[in-house]
Assembly symmetry: C2
Homo-oligomer: 323 residues x 2
Amino acid sequence: MPHPKTMRAVVFDGELALREDYPVPDFGPGWARIRIKKAGICQTDLEIMKGYMGFTGVLGHEFVGIVEACDDSDWIGKRVVGDINASCGECEWCKSGLGRHCPSRTTLGIDRLDGCMADFCVLPVRNLLEVPAAISDNRAVLTEPLAAACEILEQLRIEHSHKCVVLGDGRLGILCAWVLITTGADVTLLGHHPDKLETAAWRHLKCITRLDEIQNRADIVVDATGSAQGLKDAMQICRPRGTIVLKSTVASKEAINLAPLVIDEVTLLGSRCGQFSDALAIMQTYPDMPLERLISARYPIEQARVAFDKALYGKPLKVTVEF
Amino acid sequence: MPHPKTMRAVVFDGELALREDYPVPDFGPGWARIRIKKAGICQTDLEIMKGYMGFTGVLGHEFVGIVEACDDSDWIGKRVVGDINASCGECEWCKSGLGRHCPSRTTLGIDRLDGCMADFCVLPVRNLLEVPAAISDNRAVLTEPLAAACEILEQLRIEHSHKCVVLGDGRLGILCAWVLITTGADVTLLGHHPDKLETAAWRHLKCITRLDEIQNRADIVVDATGSAQGLKDAMQICRPRGTIVLKSTVASKEAINLAPLVIDEVTLLGSRCGQFSDALAIMQTYPDMPLERLISARYPIEQARVAFDKALYGKPLKVTVEF
């Protein structure tokens, strides 16, 4: 049976459209083509639809799928997730294991590389990780955002005695709180949505709704609010010489007075993608981490427009599209 | 001879005035009164005159002077500089040697404590350091800003292989560049004032005037510009996973897009006052560090208004007032 030449794909080119006739992507040596099983809609997809990165093409960078074509036949048929940064493999960043900072990288569904909200996507084989059988598709599709949360642990040493506060009860905020909980630290999640905070309850995580409930200033504050107010609140509750982890790339339209950072000698740490292997490891170590709860709604690819409307207007935790 | 009850003082109470009849400050146990020899005008003084910290009282926090009264007679007659943060001495910050972050601290000439732009000021004895005889008054008066530059070395490990860029050719930028030079790292100072860059020339410091002269992105960028543009430039030239040291407390009136910090996972490190002992040590170790060059103009206290006008409008490196 000849391979299909076209596929279904959610394409953004100024407008969002579900195309039935999008070309199936070709790939070169060292790359693989993956048949998508599930894809997640991320806040970044919604930002792209407002012009972020000037991206046009197939959206999507969160997926779990099956390798369908690849020079290395060992990979074919394997269930995989994949790092979204397609790096050169040659530069100093790539050689030091930090390909996600490679200056010539393209990024799945974000920067010059068609994404995974389609029947197929392509990625370098070195980006792929086989998903252990014990991890369901509904967990594996969250590997990318969970890796972004794990990145905090790679950048920062969290101690048992640390008091951590995560600002923002969206999916990234909740994932950051859960990852911090695994360190044994004292973790509080501050959000404004009682239903999301209920979803977030896990182990010894404390969930609160008001900033003034925080009695003592925190050693580590994670800002996952996606708003300028988040950084202002973080500066207010972070102790002198503490650390604020900045997880949001949403540009502020208002001026922020950074003088408190200087006066309190706070470290503001930008934090982005993480290692997929760390996310898979944490899923295996903590099978009780209730990742599935984060999936608020699932839609078949035919209803992709409805799925995006839900993600845009329904303020859900995570919407997935299934193939 | 009875001690005078009044003194000359540069007072800000919404307007700047040289008062001849300001009360000589009293002091309690554990404090000392210092007769000021020289005081420096700092950018912070000029910011206070625009409303920063809501401070009213005697301005000034950079000085060298002679201990004139103190319970501990050993101190009397000694030439001293003094840490500007009058901390409680009891809290966890004070006990860990970080009294400059004590939450109940007052600050000389900045926060609820009359400053040193007067015949006398008072400080806790534990804030005082005797100035070694080899260090002239014209060097000692720069202890506070030099300590602020030294703070970078306390917060951050600088390696020989590091490429450092300092943005801003004001006195703090130049002092930061000089302190970084002592580590053996590759240091470039970027400024827009050829005369100040000429003043800054010392050892292997490279001085440039255009951002595009920077070929490779830097490991460490110090923003001492005091402007919002400085942080924007810093984000542009700092390498992924590099560090930006933020030295300016000047509030930006425009929005800054911090997304590059997140994308490049840059660490933004707020940095303020440093240890006076470090500054005195560096002056002794590097007697050729041309600190005196930073003093652009000297005025007697009677001409304090002229000195402040010079500092406000003349864009000098450092103006001192002498008693």
